[in-house]
Structures are given as structure tokens and as C-alpha cells.
């Protein structure tokens, strides 16, 4: 057990994260300084965790989808919808728990809809989820009637900006989800089944795996995670912005999963490493900001990172380097 934990620490993703953090530290010597103020922690590292949480949560849902050889492009739009639902409901006077439950239900239903398109109608995932990616933002705009719906509900704001044991609430939620989903896929046979469906769906059916149910489950989970991220983002800005909430975050989530070593061709996946991927992305963002480079650099650095990951995962690289860097042996 201990040995497996140590070997996970030596994974290229964790090494890359340490590398990015070290570069940040060189550019900005105060990067690792953490202070305690008003019952919570402050500092750049904490900020990375806080800002990275929404994408990390999306990645937790996305990783299962990608492991089945799918992709969920709708998560950004689902975030906007969930935020819009939660915000308009508290503004309309519903209690916050009801609003949160409604928003989560919307996210789950969106995910199940994607699952239906993929599992039952057999539509290619990228096209199937594109439907909701486009329509979802429109629905969110209809819900908010084109305005940014602001609110003062303390519970929603707490979800976005509060803290627990000194850590930002968003990070706490992400960590809880990470533990829950990891246990769900690794303590049950789900993880094995997801990987089996991703590697060879025909063989999986013949081996007696109910691949349809499984697809419903992974897309449903992805929708649910997107809704959670949407509520956090809305709580953070105390309002639902249907136009901008979650915009392009599906791409960050996919990038996080791919950095985490899960191939877009499906198969082996790791939830924790996908979260590490999300933190790497945020650490770069934060690093560029705190070190005073113009934020435009962000996009270029991100593009360079994508390029690097693609090269490492390309067939050419695996021919050059016999031990493939981006795939891990037997997970669990």
C-alpha cells in the first residue's frame, strides 16, 4: 500500500506539478508564504487550490467519460445553467438548500441526457454533448432573462467563498468529491468496467458488462460535477452570469484529464491524477499572474503545455521511449 502510494508520487504528473510550483517560487519568492488571517489561510498556494477547484471538479466528472472513449463538451454550459437555476431560485425566495438541490438535479438530468444520446442513440460523444454545449448556455440565458442575476443568500455565498478548517470551501468540496469518486470507482468494480468499456466496448458487452448503464452513470456524474462547479462559481461572484460562467472550462477540464494521463482513446484512468492536472493548469495561471507577466501569456503557455502533452502521448514518442511516460501500470 505504502509502496504504491510512493510510486504514485513519482508519477510524471506530480513531478510536473512540483516543477511548475518551483518555477513559480523562482519568479515570485513569496509564492509559498501562507498566512493565517480571520480564521482562514491566505497565500498563493491556497489561491491555486481555490481557483483550481472548479476545473478540478469538472475533471473529476470528465475523467470517467473520457475513460469510456467519450468526451463531455457540455460541462461549461451546464455550469452556467446550474448557476442560473440556483441564483434565480434564491432571488425568487426559495430557501437556498432547495435552490442548490434543484441546480444539482438540473446538472444530473443534463448528464443523463448526454448519456441517453451516447448510450442509447449511439451518437458520437463529441457531437452528442455539443448539442447541450450550445443549447445549455441558451437555456441559462433564458433562465436569467439575459441579466446577471445577483443575490445575497449567505449559504450560496458561503459555498463560493467560505472556508472550512481554514481551507477555501471550493477546495474542500473538490477534495471531498475526489475522495468520494475515487472510492466509488476503485472500491467497487466500476473502475474496471469503465476501463473495459473504454478499451473495447464490443468485448465488454460479450463479457456481460452492462455498458449502457455504465455510460449513463459516467455522463450523469459529469453533469452533477458540472452543476457543483457552477454553484461554486455563482457563489463566488454572488451572481449568475449566463454568458460567461464556465465559458471554455470544458477545454480546461479535458486538458486536466489528459495531463492526468488518461488517453482520449479511452481505457486506463486516474481520478487523482486528473485533479493534479487541474492544479497544474491553475498553478501556471496563478504563476503567470503573480509574476507580473501579462495574462495573455497564459493562453500561449497553456498551448505550449497541450503541445508538450500531445507529443509525449503520441505514438512516435512511445516508440522512442519504451516505457511510456503517460500511462501508469495497474491502478488501484
Amino acid at each position: 500500500m505504502m509502496r504504491r502510494f510512493l510510486s504514485a508520487l513519482a508519477s510524471p504528473q506530480v513531478i510536473a506539478l512540483v516543477g511548475v510550483l518551483l518555477i513559480n517560487w523562482l519568479l515570485f519568492p513569496n509564492f509559498f508564504r501562507i498566512t493565517w488571517q480571520d480564521g482562514r489561510l491566505f497565500g498563493s498556494v491556497i489561491d491555486v487550490l481555490n481557483r483550481g477547484a472548479p476545473v478540478a471538479i469538472l475533471a473529476i466528472g470528465m475523467v470517467g467519460v473520457i475513460a469510456t472513449k467519450g468526451v463531455d463538451l457540455s460541462v461549461g454550459a451546464v455550469m452556467a445553467m446550474a448557476g442560473a437555476v440556483a441564483a434565480t431560485m434564491v432571488v425568487a425566495g426559495y430557501p437556498a438548500p432547495v435552490a442548490v438541490a434543484a441546480a444539482l438535479t438540473v446538472g444530473l438530468l443534463c448528464g443523463l441526457w448526454n448519456g441517453f444520446l451516447v448510450a442509447v442513440l449511439d451518437i458520437q460523444p463529441i457531437v452528442a454533448t455539443l448539442v447541450l454545449m450550445v443549447a445549455g448556455r441558451g437555456i441559462a440565458q433564458l433562465i436569467t432573462e439575459g441579466f446577471i442575476v445577483t443575490f445575497n443568500d449567505p449559504l450560496l455565498i458561503f459555498i463560493g467563498t467560505g472556508s472550512f478548517l481554514g481551507l477555501p470551501m471550493a477546495a474542500v468540496i473538490a477534495i471531498c468529491l475526489l475522495i468520494l469518486v475515487t472510492l466509488l470507482v476503485r472500491r467497487t468494480a466500476l473502475g474496471l468496467f469503465i476501463e473495459a468499456v473504454g478499451v473495447n466496448r464490443a468485448a465488454a458487452s460479450l463479457a456481460g458488462i452492462r455498458s449502457r448503464m455504465l455510460l449513463f452513470l459516467v455522463y450523469g456524474l459529469s453533469g452533477l460535477c458540472a452543476a457543483i462547479a457552477g454553484i461554486i462559481v455563482a457563489g463566488d461572484i454572488r451572481g449568475a452570469d449566463a454568458n460567461n460562467a464556465g465559458l471554455w472550462l470544458e477545454l480546461d477540464a479535458i486538458l486536466a484529464v489528459v495531463i492526468g494521463g488518461t488517453s482520449l482513446l479511452g481505457g486506463r484512468f486516474s481520478v487523482p491524477l486528473a485533479v493534479v492536472g487541474a492544479i497544474i493548469i491553475q498553478a501556471m495561471n496563478t504563476g503567470i499572474l503573480v509574476s507580473g507577466f501579462p495574462p495573455e501569456f497564459n493562453l500561449i503557455v497553456k498551448a505550449a503545455l497541450i503541445f508538450l502533452v500531445l507529443i509525449i502521448q503520441s505514438p512516435m514518442a512511445s516508440r522512442l521511449v519504451p516505457t511510456r511516460l503517460m500511462t501508469r501500470e495497474g491502478s488501484k
Binding site: L192, E195, A203, A204, S205, L206, A207, G208, I209
Partner: protein, 504 residues
Amino acid sequence: MAEAGYALEARGITKVFGLHVALDNVDFGLRPGEVHALLGENGAGKSTLIKILTGAYQPTLGQVVAEGVPVTLENPQQAQKYGIGTVYQEVNLLPNRSVAENLFLGHQPTRFGLVHRRKMEQDSRVILKRYGLDIDPASELGAHSVAVQQIVAIARAVELSGKVLILDEPTASLDRNEVERLFEIIRDLKSQGLAIVFITHFLDQVFAVADRVTILRNGKLIETRALDDMTRTDVVRLMLGKDVAFSGATAVEDARPLGDVLVEFKNYGRKRSVHPFNISIHKGEVVGVAGLLGSGRTEMARIMFGADAADEGSVTVAGKPASIARPTDAIAHGFGFCPEDRKAEGIFGDLSVRENIVIALQGKLGWFSALNRDEQMEIAGKFGEAMDIRAASLDMPIKLLSGGNQQKAILSRWLATDPDFLILDEPTRGIDVGAHAEIVRTINRLRDEGLALVVISSELDEVVAYSSRIVVMRDREMVAELNGENINPGVIVQAIANHREPAA
């Protein structure tokens, strides 16, 4: 084979993939104005030979000769220049473009540098008329039937190439009338002097349209002959490598004591897949299934297992009516299935040997009673050892194992579920001798332990050795059930070859 007069010739072609010899010193000559059938079971080397003749592969040894001149075909475009055109089983045209565009794609008539659409459509109309097609050249190709698309593909290949036409299973998805129409076109092209290679699994069609036949087996040339002096039985014998003349009734072992009936299929069938069949399988027996490729044997196995749902008939398991609409139903009744295409439907290449073995058992147990790693290791180790799986580690990806070891792992996967009934589709195809023997040994052992088995195999000697009954499939229909002393390769070959109205 060096005499002139061949439109296309392969001389001493050898093709090696890694350690596997796909073609071993094969000669093949194609005369202008003939339809030449190329026959052989899967893996015989037909498609490798075709790919070499069309420039998709380069031969390891040997030479391709076009009209007496040795040529090097780097790619299919170059083959086209030498007049060699190919039509594949699945029409590989653009269904969302017009018929005319498909005919002229890549060499459209132009005017002022733009496509001259009107001329293209006029020319198309003329060409299509020659093939007896009266369709609008401007219509979308995909809107037409597969047969029409197939004819358009042939027309395109002939227009582009014009000397040699290779038809790779062109009739696989056509109905009887459409096949007849296609044959008229083939005969017409033949009379125009085209040399035509025709690949099919349907013997009737070979005898209906071909002049000569070349038979390949395990990468070797078995025979090239005129069809006039051959019977169906001759052809099947050559394809399967069984010498009927010498195999009289073999001494039959004493009938083994049969157990109770375990599974019984009554009028079980599926439209467009396999005609209704009746079969009952006892505990402790192996029912062998013989038949050529495409005879419906795999389809039969698939509906038995629920991989395709039957749309008529009924099944009883241990005397009770059962409903088997999907594999999970079959597995719940204690069935197991090793599919023919190990790579596409059997193994999970990137997953470990261990996971490949436990997956069916885990599927049976469900999501929430997960086997932990130690339990998985124990199960995989136990069955892997019993089957003598040679793997450096049970944690290595199964795709790194040899075909034989992969097959053993898939068999182990089902044995781990403690099955009552196993369906094995070509369990010994394409695996090494050692693994082959191990699998045959396992089939015998399981039978003696009281399992019911259905084994599909092209290896007649092998089927004969372990089966207590043999079912023969032909044209998607179960045509014979052989018992006792009829279980010998000679009778099986006859049953496979026989036509309803005995020919020749």
C-alpha cells in the same frame, strides 16, 4: 507460368509480417476475359495477395507482372495506372456526393479550370446506361441501394482502370436478384476482355460466374484449375485440406454416456442472419459446428449467446423456458462465449491479463461486490495456471501476449464464472501448436467434467476428435446433423458442399 497472355501475374510472391508468413511463394495468373475466383478460408492469404496486386502492400519476395512487364506497385494509384481497379465489400465511395461526382472523383472534366458539371453528368449518363442503370447522375449516391452503389463502384473502377477488375466480396450484402444483376454485369465485362478476380465465400456464386479458380490455404497456393472439371466437393476439399478419398468411416469410439439435456433451442433464428434451427445440447457433450466462412456458424453462436437477439423460436435451459436477449441473460444462465475475432471482441488489449480473466466473473458479481486485487490475483493465477498461460506477469497488458495465450486467457475468463455451457467460435484459429493442443485438451477435460459445449471450427480433424455430434451449416441454414459413424471429415465435406439440387 512465364508465358505471355496474362493480364496480371504474381510470380513467387512471399509476404512476411514479423514472424508470420502470410504468403509463401504463391503464383497467380490472370487472363484477359476470364473470371477468376480466389478462394480460401480466413487467414488463407487472399486479402494479402489482393493487397499486393493492388499496390497496398509490397511483397517480401517475388514479383508482380502486368501484361508481361515486371512492375513495382508502390500504391493503389500506381496500380490504377496499370489498369488494375478494385471494388471492396463495403462500398468506399462518398455517399453524400452525387453519382456523377463519385464516378469522376479525381478526374472531373473541367472547363476554365472549374468542374464542368453538365458534361460530367452527360458522360455519367452514358456510362451508367452501359451498366443498365437508369438513374439521375445528379442524385446523391447514398440515396440508392447498396447494389446500385456497388455497380457505380464497379463502373468507376472500370472507367479508371479498364484492364483488371478485382471484386472483393462484392455480393456480401446483396440479395438474390441484385446478385444476379451484378453477375450479368460481370459477364458483360468479361466479354469485353476484362480480367476479373472474384472473391467470395459463396460457392454457388463461384460456380455461377467463374471460369477458373485459385485456392489458397495457410498462405500457400493449393491449386489453380478450370472450374469445368471440378465439383463442389473438390473445391471444399481443397479449401479445407481434407482428402475425402482416404477418409472412410473412421472407427467410432463407444458412444459416451450423455447427460441430461441442458440447453435446447427450438426454431431459434434471426432474420437476415441465420435461419431457424433446432438443436439440443446435453451435459457432457461437445456439439461441433462445421461449415465454410459465411455459412452462418458465427451468427448461430451469437444468437445462442444473446449477442444478437433471436427474433423467433424459444430456448429452454435445464428444462425451463428461458429468455436470452443479451449476453448478461446468457451469462446468468451459466453460458460463456469465446468469439471468433479475438482481438476485436475478445480481449481488452490495454488491460492486464489478470483483469482480462476476472472481468466476466466480476460482471456476474455486479458493481458492488468488487474482487480486491488479491482475490483477482488468486483467481487469475489459478485459472492461468490450469490453462498454462505463459505471461511474464499477470499484470502485463494482455496485448503483449501471443494469440494462443490470449485465447487461453479468454477461456480462463469463462471458466472463472463456473459455466455450464460454453460456446467456442474457432478457439484454435491462428494460434501456435502448443496452445492449440492445450485448448483441445481443455475442451476434452471440460466435456468429461460434464460441461455442455458448442465448438465451431474449420479444423475438421479436430472437431471430429472431440465432438459427439456435428452440425453442418450452409447458406445461413443448419443443413445436417451428423451422428455416430457419420462423424468423419469425408461426410462433413460432402454435407458442406452438397447443393440442394446436386450439381456436377
